[in-house]
């Protein structure tokens, strides 16, 4: 799956990394390591752990992302909720009630790292399910329409 086609429903990024899953798992679940590549945080590495990411405040958003770990299966799968932002903001910083899922698959010479961020907010965590059918079609039409106009 390419990054572009996956983006129609959610953001999916898949990369092959020349490191063992255990090492990547540490980078995904150790607070000080997470801070080096993602954001400041108080990550609590256990199922049900609640933590926050701290980004720079933006518009009406205080910069905090509230998270809760809903799957913690070392060194293969990590899922956390991702809630924060403000409906006043567009793009990055907008209100999100979303889910981030990490999947590590060991391969010869490394690991396939897959990150999926599905977020349809605000206040409608279940909207993703209802939308996943109609959404790509709407976006296709939008692309065609904007191609005609521009």
């Amino acid at each position: 799956m390419t990054e572009a086609t996956a983006a129609a429903r959610s953001i999916v990024i898949e990369r092959m990394m020349p490191h063992p899953p255990e090492k990547i798992w540490r980078a995904l679940t150790q607070s000080s390591l997470i801070a080096e590549w993602l954001m400041e945080n108080d990550f609590e590495p256990r199922l049900g752990g609640r933590f926050q990411f701290r980004a720079k405040p933006m518009g009406n958003w205080n910069g905090l992302v509230d998270c809760e770990i809903t799957a913690f299966e070392p060194p293969r799968r990590l899922v956390y909720t991702w809630k924060g932002g403000s409906v006043q903001n567009l793009g990055h910083g907008t209100a999100l009630d979303s889910i981030v899922e990490w999947t590590l698959t060991p391969l010869e010479g490394g690991t396939r790292v897959r990150m999926e961020h599905c977020g349809f907010g605000p206040q409608n965590a279940s909207a993703y399910d209802t939308m996943s059918g109609g959404w790509p079609k709407v976006l296709e039409r939008l692309e065609r329409a904007s191609g005609r106009q521009g």
Partner: protein
């Protein structure tokens, strides 16, 4: 004023509104009467959903005689597209940083 992306999400989270919007994207301009014929709800309910789509910036209306005509406003989806684009860029950047970190870490 440009509606916030939140109102676009809310407007399209409802399956009836989404199907009305999709119909307008597909068929072009439609009267409320034409839309009601295909929806399994009353005309006042259709009008209410259209009003919600309008306030989210997703449709435009025009009165002709006694009939209201509606058409899709594809530009109304742009907050969503911005969101996907910007978050996509955000994660690609963070994945680059993750790869840099992994290079620096011990096994």
């Amino acid at each position: 004023m440009k509606p916030a992306s939140g109102s676009v999400f809310r407007a399209l989270a409802d399956p009836t509104r989404r199907s009305l919007f999709e119909r307008l994207c597909r068929e072009g301009e439609q009267t409320v009467w034409m839309l009601t014929r295909h929806a399994r709800i009353s005309q006042p309910a259709v009008s209410k959903h259209l009003a919600a789509l309008k306030s989210a910036g997703l449709v435009r209306d025009r009165r002709e005689g006694r009939e209201m005509h509606y058409r899709a406003e594809a530009k109304g989806l742009s907050p969503l597209v911005d969101w996907l684009g910007l978050y996509g860029a955000f994660w690609r950047d963070r994945m680059d940083r993750l790869e840099d970190l992994l290079k620096r870490m011990d096994q």
